[in-house]
């Protein structure tokens, strides 16, 4: 059910929160093109490495990227699992509309029957 298992779950809440920021969306796209270190990512933005590190942590807790140590560098990698969540959300919204329209028909039929007997 969409209202409690998908859209308002903590996981999806974190996902949307993480993607609500333009810098973080940009990091996701750059990370998807190839592994990038946090310091390499930071060169693209007018902010400190620490600030970028914080954005990466938010993305990581949302399951969008994961950090991977390679020598002295921390590489940021995409995590395709978030996509499954997005697809699941679409499926659940579709199911919600199926439920609604089925009930709509039942309520209408009941209303019409009541109208006839009156």
């Amino acid at each position: 059910m969409v209202v409690d298992t998908a859209l308002s779950s903590d996981e999806v809440d974190r996902l949307f929160r993480a993607l609500a920021d333009a810098t973080r969306r940009d990091i996701v796209v750059r990370a998807a093109i190839g592994d990038l270190s946090v310091s390499a990512l930071a060169r693209n933005y007018d902010m400190s490495v620490t600030a970028v590190q914080k954005h990466v942590s938010v993305l990581e807790s949302a399951g969008l990227v994961r950090k991977h140590r390679s020598g002295r560098e921390q590489l940021v990698r995409p995590q395709p699992r978030a996509l499954d969540t997005a697809r699941e959300v679409l499926d659940e919204i579709e199911q919600l509309w199926r439920d609604r329209i089925n009930l709509f028909g039942e309520v209408l039929a009941a209303q019409l029957t009541e109208g006839e007997t009156r």
Binding site: M1, V2, V3, D4, L7, S8, V12, D13, L15, F16, R17, L19, A20, R25, V28, V29, A32, I33, G34, D35, P78, P80, A82, L83, T85, A86, R87, V89, L90, I93, E94, Q95, L96, W97, R98, D99, R100, I101, N102, L103, F104, G105, E106, V107, L108, Q111, L112
Partner: protein, 168 residues
């Protein structure tokens, strides 16, 4: 006609189409009467309770759905346009426990068209699009890049195997 629900995944758009053996006014009443609306807006497991219902342009409809465990999920509509009994446009948002909008969750925009077919039947078409959800779109866009990502992953695995072999 059995109602149809179709989903366009690329644009996160849902379309519901149904034809009823009833006049347009009857169909409209299921939207305009809060007691009728709450009989179908929530799924069977989560019945809806309409708290406030002002179906005029600029008006707000607020509701909550109750889970089998008694947990309440709040939501609301910002009514954008109303032409009774044929057209309704609204934005549906998630709300916090106090009814205020939860801006972190996606907003959908719906258009409801109720058309007299001229033969005693009425066609209802509901189009819902998550247009304000840049986040949802971004996540779906990433789907196209998933192929690239998994290819990169495979290259890495091969390189890692080569490395472990050469170090042995």
């Amino acid at each position: 006609m059995t109602p149809t629900v179709t989903t366009d995944r690329d644009s996160a758009t849902f379309t519901v189409a149904a034809v009823y053996e009833a006049p347009t006014e009857r169909i409209w009443r299921l939207w305009s009467d809060p007691r009728q609306l709450e009989r179908w807006w929530g799924p069977p497991s989560h019945p809806a309770t309409v708290v406030h219902h002002d179906l005029t342009a600029g008006g707000v409809v607020s509701y909550y759905m109750t889970s089998p465990e008694g947990e309440k999920f709040h939501g609301g509509w910002r009514v954008l346009g109303v032409e009774a009994p044929n057209l309704l446009e609204f934005e549906d948002y998630f709300a916090n426990q106090d009814g205020s909008e939860n801006v972190d969750l996606p907003i959908s925009r719906s258009t409801v068209a109720i058309e007299d077919q001229g033969d005693g039947r009425t066609r209802m078409t509901i189009t819902t699009r998550y247009e304000n959800s840049a986040a949802m779109e971004k996540v779906l866009e990433m789907g196209m890049e998933e192929g690239i990502t998994s290819a990169l992953g495979q290259i890495e695995e091969i390189l890692a195997e080569d490395r472990s072999r050469s170090s042995n």
